[in-house]
């Protein structure tokens, strides 16, 4: 067997990447080892997939096997989204690459005391103040709900938007009013990068603390910490302008907000910080377990990246 000429592909850290790229139509394929989108006229567009945290695939895209392989090898999350940001399905970056982190997360989630500590930490990070003492997770959720509704109202008033409530029919896009539509679009961007970061850090998106029972429970937990200082004001600001292409405007503004708040730099440290609040040590491998035969190679990516 001949030696490969180029060194093997490795993922780069999430913080060194561009947040999201949206692809609307075309065939996603690999040509000469590069990730390309080919449209019906044969126009090829290279996507620097290794430098993107997640790719949002809108209806009208087809993905080849080679393209998914390449995306997963460089640690880019593929998210299939419905019309303008209603999520359908996500894959492309295999999750659960680190059993020690998965077990740690699961242990924290199963321990009532640790879970409460983490939920309190999330509350504190979110509202920049400590939650009231001696409250259960259930009660904290209640307080949080009230505060969130207040914040929506406040922001709506600040940007001069008519606001009724956060409601939308997730099955039918366009059923919500303008602010709701902008909010859905903006949160979809945020969820995408949060999920990419959670996977990159080696945790499971499904094991949530405040949220539960959804494939993205932990994604919602983490996204909620950032939601009100990034995407929600953006969504209301755009909604107030009543634009003709709200989704596009929202994405552009979200991109600016992510850059200005250095979200991709903060997101993994925040995940670690929240989990550390649980006060439990990371579990060690049991003594009787079979140790690794081939030592892991030093990677330049995040802990959860394979390769």
């Amino acid at each position: 067997m001949t030696e490969p000429i180029l060194p093997p592909l490795k993922p780069i850290p999430i913080k060194d990447r561009v947040s999201v790229v949206f692809l609307e139509k075309g065939n996603l394929d690999v040509l000469d080892g590069a990730f390309v989108v080919v449209d019906k006229d044969g126009v090829r567009t290279h996507i620097p997939v290794g430098g993107v945290a997640c790719l949002m695939l809108e209806p009208g895209t087809r993905v080849s096997h080679a393209a998914v392989t390449l995306a997963s090898r460089v640690g880019c999350l593929l998210v299939w989204i419905g019309e303008a940001g209603v999520r359908l399905y996500a894959s492309g970056q295999p999750g659960g690459a680190r059993s020690d982190r998965l077990l740690y997360q699961a242990k924290l989630a199963l321990d009532d005391e640790a879970r409460l500590k983490i939920v309190r930490k999330m509350y504190e990070m979110r509202f920049k103040e400590k939650p009231p003492e001696r409250r259960s997770v259930e009660q904290l959720r209640g307080i949080e709900g009230v505060r969130v509704r207040k914040m929506y109202e406040l922001l709506a008033r600040q940007y001069g938007v008519t606001w009724k409530a956060r409601n939308y029919d997730y099955e039918e896009w366009g059923s919500g009013d303008m602010p709701n539509r902008c909010l859905s679009s903006a949160t979809a961007c945020l969820y995408g990068i949060c999920e990419a970061a959670i996977l990159a850090a080696g945790y499971a998106p499904a094991v949530g603390f405040l949220h539960t029972g959804k494939p993205q429970s932990f994604v919602y937990d983490i996204a909620d910490i950032f939601k009100f200082d990034s995407v929600v004001p953006v969504a209301f600001r755009i909604a107030a302008k009543n634009p003709r292409q709200p989704e596009r405007e929202v994405r552009l503004a979200c991109r600016d907000a992510f850059r200005q708040t250095r979200l991709l730099h903060r997101i993994i440290p925040t995940i670690e910080e929240t989990l550390a609040a649980g006060g439990i040590e990371r579990p060690k491998a049991p003594e009787e377990a079979v140790p690794i035969a081939i030592p892991n190679k030093e990677g330049i990516g995040d802990a959860g990246h394979r390769g």
């Binding site: 561009v18 790229v21 126009v43 567009t45 600016d256």
Partner: protein, 102 residues
């Protein structure tokens, strides 16, 4: 950081660019200049380009960390995807107009 690549341009423009920038390969110029100087250089390229084509890329405060401008006909055409600028490669015989999209 500023990079300019020119193709098929008159020698006088290439000579002029070499006044301010370092020509590291045929038609590839590298330098580090302020915004005003960059705009002045790009104006020079616009004036002297004739039938050739050029691209100028520089580091700036966008999400990708750089931005670029193109001039003249080329099979590589800049496209904008919700705030990220990428490049499309047009098949032969169907040449796009590689003017700036911004």
């Amino acid at each position: 950081m500023l990079v300019i690549v020119v193709e098929n341009v008159p020698p006088r423009l290439r000579g002029r660019l070499a006044v301010w920038l370092l020509e590291v390969r045929a038609g590839v110029y590298v330098g580090h200049v302020s915004r005003r100087i960059r705009e002045m250089i790009w104006e020079t390229v616009e004036k002297g380009i004739e039938d050739g084509n050029a691209v100028m890329a520089w580091s700036t405060n966008t999400e990708s960390g750089f931005d670029f401008l193109t001039l003249g006909q080329n099979r590589r055409v800049p496209v904008e995807m919700d705030g990220i600028k990428l490049v499309s490669f047009v098949p032969e015989g169907d040449q796009g107009n590689a003017t700036d999209i911004a």
